[in-house]
């Protein structure tokens, strides 16, 4: 701020500076935003009568959380939950194992350009397609069952983990890697002693986070027939068995919380 501006401002009250400095842009943004909001509200069709009727059912569902029914459908819940966990574990292991070489290939500072392009391409495809769409296609190809879910989750894990791993490798300290190289290390030794120790803590943390995500995603894959607890949950909703649905949701939330707690401990120990 120059002296001139300061002189001008003397004697006037202070006003909070605006978030967007250019006034024209600020007003245009605000106006456009409200125009959009009005247009959006005009086109949404809400059947308020139906919503009002539904409030009772919504309340019944909230009440169901106070008395969840684990018992009467326990065998279905258990088999669905086991399938979800199994898919999560297998897909996480396979996905992490595959994403390490792809992550190495997608880091510009250690991979030559052709390999870099191929690996970045794989990452981009995997990230652009959502789990549920991949699951639909894989169910059409491989048939119903947890195999399609396992493949879906592995594929999604590759995109997520490879990208973050590659970014971490690109941000690593070059000096250590060069020192290993100067000692005459071959390529695998260079990766093993120069690169791996630098990215390992983050890789472990990200893997734990991905296991957490995989479990959450495995809960919906059943909606399209790819195995897991989703099918059971869908059936419970369709039959208006809110107490069973509440039990399943409580189990999912509980497992996710436990996983988050566990990953917190592991990450704190590694870093």
């Amino acid at each position: 701020m120059s002296h001139r501006e300061l002189d001008d401002m003397l004697g006037k009250g202070w006003r909070k500076p605006a978030f967007v400095k250019n006034p024209l842009l600020r007003w245009a943004l605000l106006l456009g935003f409200f125009a959009y909001l009005i247009a959006a509200f005009m086109t949404i069709e809400v059947d308020w009568g139906r919503v009002y009727e539904g409030l009772d059912r919504g309340w019944a569902f909230v009440l169901a959380f106070t008395s969840p029914d684990f018992i009467s459908r326990w065998t279905d819940i258990w088999s669905g939950l086991l399938e979800s966990i199994v898919m999560t574990v297998a897909a996480s292991v396979v996905g992490i194992l595959i994403s390490i070489p792809i992550g190495l290939g997608a880091a510009r500072n250690i991979a030559p350009l052709p390999i870099y392009m191929i690996c970045r391409g794989i990452v981009a495809i995997s990230r652009a397609l959502q789990e549920i769409i991949v699951a639909i296609l894989l169910v059409a190809i491989f048939g119903f069952g947890p195999l399609a879910g396992f493949l879906t989750l592995s594929f999604a894990t590759i995109g997520f983990l490879s990208k973050l791993l590659a970014e971490d490798i690109e941000a690593m300290d070059k000096v250590q890697a060069e020192a290993i190289k100067a000692s005459g290390a071959r390529w695998p030794q260079w990766i093993n002693y120069g690169v791996q120790p630098q990215v390992m803590p983050r890789l472990v943390g990200l893997s734990m986070y991905r296991i957490d995500i995989n479990f959450r995603e495995s809960a919906i894959l059943g909606l399209v027939g790819a195995g897991g607890i989703g099918a059971t949950l869908n059936t419970a909703f369709d039959r208006y068995e809110y107490d069973t649905a509440a039990a399943i949701l409580i189990l999912i939330i509980g497992i996710v919380m436990a996983l988050e707690y566990l990953s917190g401990i592991i990450r704190a120990r590694v870093q």
Partner: protein, 271 residues
């Protein structure tokens, strides 16, 4: 440091026998769990379909290409609905996430003993359940349509936004808050001039980030009947109209890429 002696010369060893036994046993256990999981998946898979998969995939590919381009005239409204679901859902979620975040942050919560755990519970439970499941539930309660999609996206986003926001609130610079307090400002003035300006950039970043994710999620909400382009996708899948499916998938991919580009631009401008 464990040392091994051989021919009176000392050879360095990294771990004691006990440590390496524990590690070896841990790896064995991990491999055993993975093999067991794989066996469970394998048992519930019809391997005939899997061996047949290349032929089926080829078949689907020939059916799906070329995409039915003139179908795009019917996709205008679903795309608009998808955009509305994502945007309105994000706005509603942000309105609810702000108070939850202030209640959950350690330095602004009115009561760390009673209110903070409740706020954290809200965050965890809304975050760990996928928006498709929320949509499923809301469709059972308030009926299918765009409105259910908006609410599903909103509920799902509360936890995400509130978590990132309360972490931002906990990381604010305390000296600024103290300075405002020292001028004799009331509690709300401290909030408005001491805390809010510090978290505003983080808030805008979170909003755009979540909007980007919500565009992705709202494209598939229609699969369970909650409006948007997913409705067209599931209708086309049900009648096996593969050329339409491939066109819709292309449209979804383009929408996801555009939203990612917009969010990257906006975040780049803010931060």
């Amino acid at each position: 440091m464990p040392i091994l002696e051989r021919d009176d010369a000392q050879i360095w060893r990294r771990r004691t026998t006990g440590q390496s036994l524990v590690r070896w046993f841990g790896w064995l256990l991990g491999v055993a769990i993975f093999v067991y999981c794989w066996q469970l998946i394998s048992e519930s898979t019809t391997w005939f379909f899997v061996w047949d998969a290349p032929r089926i995939a080829n078949d689907i590919w020939t059916r799906a290409t070329p995409p039915k381009w003139d179908y795009i005239t019917q996709l205008g409204r679903p795309i608009w609905d998808t955009l509305n679901i994502a945007t309105l859902g994000t706005i509603i979620a942000l309105c609810m996430a702000v108070p939850v975040a202030f209640l959950a942050a350690r330095n602004t919560t009115p009561s760390a003993l009673f209110i903070r755990p409740i706020a954290l519970l809200v965050i965890v439970s809304t975050r760990s359940i996928n928006s498709l499941i929320w949509a499923l539930l809301l469709i059972a309660i308030i009926g299918p349509g765009v409105f259910a999609g908006v609410i599903a996206i909103a509920i799902r986003s509360i936890g995400f936004c509130a978590k990132l926001l309360y972490e931002a609130i906990e990381e604010i610079d305390h000296t600024q808050v103290e300075a405002i307090t020292a001028t004799g400002a009331s509690r709300w003035q401290v909030m408005a001039y001491g805390i809010v300006p510090q978290i505003l950039p983080a808030f805008a970043g979170i909003a755009v980030f979540r909007w980007d994710i919500n565009i992705r999620e709202s494209t598939v909400l229609g699969l369970v009947g909650a409006g948007g382009i997913g409705l067209q996708l599931s209708a086309s899948l049900n009648v096996l109209a593969w050329p339409q499916v491939s066109l819709i998938l292309i449209v979804i991919l383009v929408a996801v890429m555009i939203s990612e580009w917009v969010s990257a631009k906006v975040r780049g401008a803010i931060i």
